[in-house]
């Protein structure tokens, strides 16, 4: 067993874990943070994306022990005081999901992207979420959601006024 001390969504934890425990297992099975999901088990799909010290990572490809001393942010820690994060709001408004399974990872990847590039064009959004797969192929509205979130997060942006119309059956 090895000890891991981490801050997850603002709360400190210290746990003994098997070295082989993956970060995503630790989050889900030990801490009960099931908002972060396991998709592909092969590091492709990005459904398990969380932030490790402020950067997006696939938590199925990080050992829990590698997160020792780090700060982890999951989809469950994005909302503040009951208020959804702008990226969460934008995915809701623009219907940036179909089955919803990829959504936690998509949102965490998008938050990282917008922190880095607050005003991405469509190509930059598509490249920024390259590590996340939507098996429903609902990328049209996901890209719109990220761009909508970018508008909402601009300094001085007021409450949402108009949303771009969601595209039915986007590909």
């Amino acid at each position: 067993m090895a000890q891991v001390r981490v801050t997850v969504d603002g709360v400190n934890y210290a746990d003994d874990v098997e070295p082989r425990m993956l970060l995503v297992q630790y989050l889900r099975e030990r801490l009960g943070k099931t908002g972060t999901v396991v998709g592909c088990d092969t590091s492709n799909c990005g459904a398990c994306t969380v932030h490790l010290n402020g950067q997006s990572v696939k938590s199925c490809s990080v050992l829990a022990v590698q997160a020792d001393g780090a700060e982890v942010l999951t989809i469950e820690g994005l909302a503040r005081d009951g208020e959804l994060h702008p990226v969460q709001k934008a995915f809701n408004e623009c219907h940036g999901l179909q089955c919803g399974y990829c959504t936690p990872g998509m949102i965490m990847a998008a938050v990282d992207l917008l922190g880095d590039n607050p005003d991405p064009d469509e190509t930059e959004v598509r490249e920024g979420i390259e590590g996340n797969l939507c098996r429903c192929t609902g990328y049209q509205n996901i890209v719109r959601s990220v761009q909508r979130a970018a508008q909402m997060m601009k300094p001085g942006a007021s409450a949402p006024t108009e949303s771009p119309a969601p595209v039915a059956g986007g590909n």
């Binding site: 590091s43 990080v62 050992l63 022990v65 590698q66 390259e130 590590g131 996340n132």
Partner: protein, 283 residues
Amino acid sequence: MIPAKFDYVRPSSVDEAVAALRDAGEDAKILAGGQSLLPVLRLRLAAPSTIIDLGGIADLRRIAEDGDRIAIGAMVPHHDVMRDDLVKQHVSLLSQATATVADPQVRHRGTLGGALAHADPAGDLGAVALALDAEFVIAGASGTRTVGASEFFVDYFTTAIGEGEILTQVRFPKYTGWASHYEKFNRTAQAWSMCAVAVALRIDGGSIAEARVGLTNMGTTPIRASGVEAALVGQQANEDSARAAAEHATEGTAAPSDADAAADYREHLARVLTGRAVLAAAG
């Protein structure tokens, strides 16, 4: 799936890591960023008895100017390599190729040293290191040694790093002012290169004074396209010279045939991508 059981060691210095490697014996595995190793462990394609995690060694995460070299610690993540000002200024080809590796999440964790030590022939950075004559600093029980890129890549997933040794730094000569481009071909997002071409040119008064060209996934190791280089030198950087030089792109290659592409298709790609890369580099 989850990995098989292993012992975990997280040394805080290279000396400690070398000692841990010696103590653990031949069944140990070094963990850098883990973006290739962890999937392999999860699929149980490997089940090492001990994992030695280099993540706790701060010395391996630095990029520094060292005379006429840029020295990059083996544990510097791709994300940092591609954005580093020294790398952009002096080794722009590395910056460009690194930006095409996998996806943002993988680039946050995956490291330069890990990728090169893994030596996947479809990996993007080997061709760059080879074309640019990078040097590999390798630490072992009897101290450190330096290996040139032409000797580093030995075979499929095999490098000059010996048993009990650890790659600690990769040193690139400065190519300040050179034009460069990495042209990569794949079919889907975050996919490995089916074939890719790394080009750096020193252009003087419109003509190519020096050329360095490396190929990705055209053999069991990265390949230096010496024939292309020779054909480019002394030429004006234009479409005719690029196309003529590209005809030499498959010399010395042994392209694999696999589920992604047959060898003859890869050879076709190597010629086409070489032409594109030269023209893109020349701007």
